[in-house]
Symmetry: C2
Subunit: 407 residues, 2 copies
């Protein structure tokens, strides 16, 4: 049974749960997904503070100060960053204050040190207008009680800094989905082995491991298995626990006879067998005891697209993300695309801007192997079902790859 | 001395060398940078092979085959993927062949199994046109001797697969630059400590650690140091070896008096002190024994932009990348930007496409703290020197962040 991509996505997404959580030191949280909504316990800044080096004063005292008619005040204290002064500013007095230091009691403005001159305990103020703006107010950036970061947020550099501001030294983050990868095919050998006649190296497991990592998962390698139900089933059954198992390759007539038998042998319930996309139509999806089992084509072009369109969203959801769509934009084909597309088609491609036009070049053209295309891609072109060959200049949808190539 | 951004970038890039290399198991190489150009030792595919399940035949034998007038051939062998047949196809004979199996000697085409019928050792062929296309030729994707992947390539999923194809089980990759991070400021406490009066938490080191990781580096935390030359110098002097040391914060008048003294005490030669950008002008850059020392502002807005514009390219070069520019496009402001820009200005922003228009919204507006802007950004707006306030609808350059937010 062939089903539509959206139906297949929904079936898988509805089936999986977001994984459990773990507490990690903040230093290890870059690019992880936050599993708790973080509320500010305190204002930030926690106190009125000076954004510059200068003198804390009563603003009304110095409002009339001019270079040719300075106001003279008595310095009563000096406040370094990190220190608190017990001084109280009254009319006629000032406090030397450093960047980041808390404002002393009574102060209503800060004069820049460049606009002052100090001698014998007295400071002369040469400019005093608008100095009430030179205060960072408590709670100006963050108010106590504010929900500052939502659960499901990817921890980028800004979020790292904000978690530190909020004192979240050990945030709760989602676990990374662990994905076992098994390549099936009697022709396959590990990349570290010499090639006997008739053999090729297992590349699908390595390509998919990169895709799993990009989707926030942890790949686990189960190696290669011969095209025998017993051999494949026993490797899967003996594998360490994981959240998802992906096989590549089937055998003989109807790509999934063999993997279908393996899944049956292991008591895995089949959800669907084919998805209406090209490449990547054969996708045997099954479930057992809440764990997901996916059989992909042994053709790298098909396996990589099935993964991107169908499996990646599932891993992102498992890993706690709120969104699993890639950024999508319209772009103009810079080269003919000669194939017609009976099913929705995905094409590895490279986009760039020329003037105001967003251009895109399909990389999967004649003579260029699929892995070469995937190596150089920074987007995927999405061509709707029933589209004839497309001439250069046609408009297409593209999905941007964050981990794409810059040239 | 204030220097232009390009001059500062060039000075730093010219000073640093690409780091050394290490050999890693391929499974650990995702997103690392390849340090060797990889040449194919063999053709790929290594032999003529069948892309489908069917029958290997002599194409001329079956050219006239039609559903109502099948051609009948004698099956002389069956070839599974991974096996080699000693059979020789002669006129009147055929070999059953599986996807990925090597073509037997003499065969010049493969008939799809769907177009055949088998009984009693004989196969009936119902369609035989164009079957010479059903062969993947040896070397069709990769020719022996071809330079397939260049040194400096970032190992994405496609490259992972290609390295496996080529038998590079343990590629040579560049080491990741190790960057020590020290926050200076007597007001700073670690994020896991309670806040005494006048104190705030060290957020810069955590924000920068995220930026270092995004630039392919390995952050090392040196904690916080009080605003004292001796304290700061001794932490830096005692730190484990690294490729670059970044401090944040200085103290008192002229942001870098203190760090300038620290660098002098440590015998670090100063390259420059200020760069003509906003925010992020104060950047004290120094070098000693080939190691780089950078003093950034304690203001997170300034530190983050100095890092993105100036330090990130240096880390990318150290880590073996050939390119350190971000993808840059033109976009249209979707909101007024009220500040004028005497120096080149960088603004955290969010871009999206609306119809064919690329729109961008500056996030660093009034009332929104800098870290909140960085949390939600997917690009940086670059505003040239001497630009007045910009009205909604103005065109601007934006640099895309790969690790940006999707909403």
């Amino acid at each position: 049974m062939t089903i539509q991509l959206e139906a297949a996505q929904k079936m898988l997404l509805d089936m999986v749960q977001t994984l459990g959580t773990e507490v990690l030191p903040l230093a290890q949280c870059s690019q992880r997904v936050l599993a708790e909504t973080v509320t500010a316990e305190l204002n930030f800044p926690p106190f009125d503070r000076s954004p510059l080096d200068g003198y804390a004063v009563i603003a009304a005292d110095v409002q009339a100060a001019r270079p040719d008619s300075p106001v003279v005040l008595r310095q009563i204290d000096m406040i370094a960053a990190g220190s608190v002064s017990r001084a109280v500013i009254t009319s006629g007095t000032a406090c030397r204050i450093m960047t980041g230091a808390p404002l002393p009691s009574g102060a209503t403005g800060v004069v820049r040190v460049e606009d002052t001159d100090f001698a014998d305990g007295m400071v002369r103020i040469f400019a005093g207008g608008g100095i009430d703006q030179n205060i960072c107010r408590a709670g100006e950036e963050i108010a106590a009680g504010e929900e500052v970061i939502q659960a499901g947020t990817v921890i980028n550099a800004g979020v790292m800094g904000m978690l530190a501001v909020l004192g979240k030294a050990c945030p709760l983050v989602y676990k990374k989905p662990k994905v076992s990868l098994l390549a099936t095919g009697s022709e396959l050998v590990s990349p570290d082995m010499p090639l006997a006649p008739g053999k090729i190296r297992n590349s699908n497991s390595y390509m998919l491991s990169g895709q799993v990592e990009n989707a926030g998962g942890r790949p686990a390698f189960l190696g290669q298995a011969r095209d025998e139900v017993e051999a494949i089933a026993s490797v899967i059954a003996a594998a360490p626990a994981c959240d998802m198992t992906i096989t590549t390759g089937g055998a003989s007539v109807g790509d999934y006879d063999l993997i279908g038998e393996v899944f049956a042998r292991l008591g895995i319930d089949i959800l669907f067998e084919k998805v209406s996309i090209k490449p990547g139509m054969p996708v045997l999806a099954g479930v057992k005891s809440g764990k997901m089992f996916i059989g992909l084509s042994g053709n790298p072009a098909a396996a990589s697209i099935s993964f991107e369109t169908l499996i990646r969203p599932v891993l992102l959801k498992m890993g706690g993300r709120q969104r699993w769509q890639r950024p999508k934009i319209r772009a103009t084909l810079a080269r003919d695309f000669c194939k017609s597309s009976e099913a929705r088609r995905f094409v590895w491609a490279y986009w760039w801007q020329d003037g105001k036009a967003m251009l895109v070049e399909p990389l999967h053209y004649q003579g260029n192997g699929m892995l070469k295309s995937a190596m150089g891609a920074n987007c995927l072109i999405v061509i709707p079902t029933g589209t004839p060959p497309l001439a250069s200049g046609s408009e297409v949808d593209i999905e941007l790859l964050a981990e794409g190539v810059v040239r």
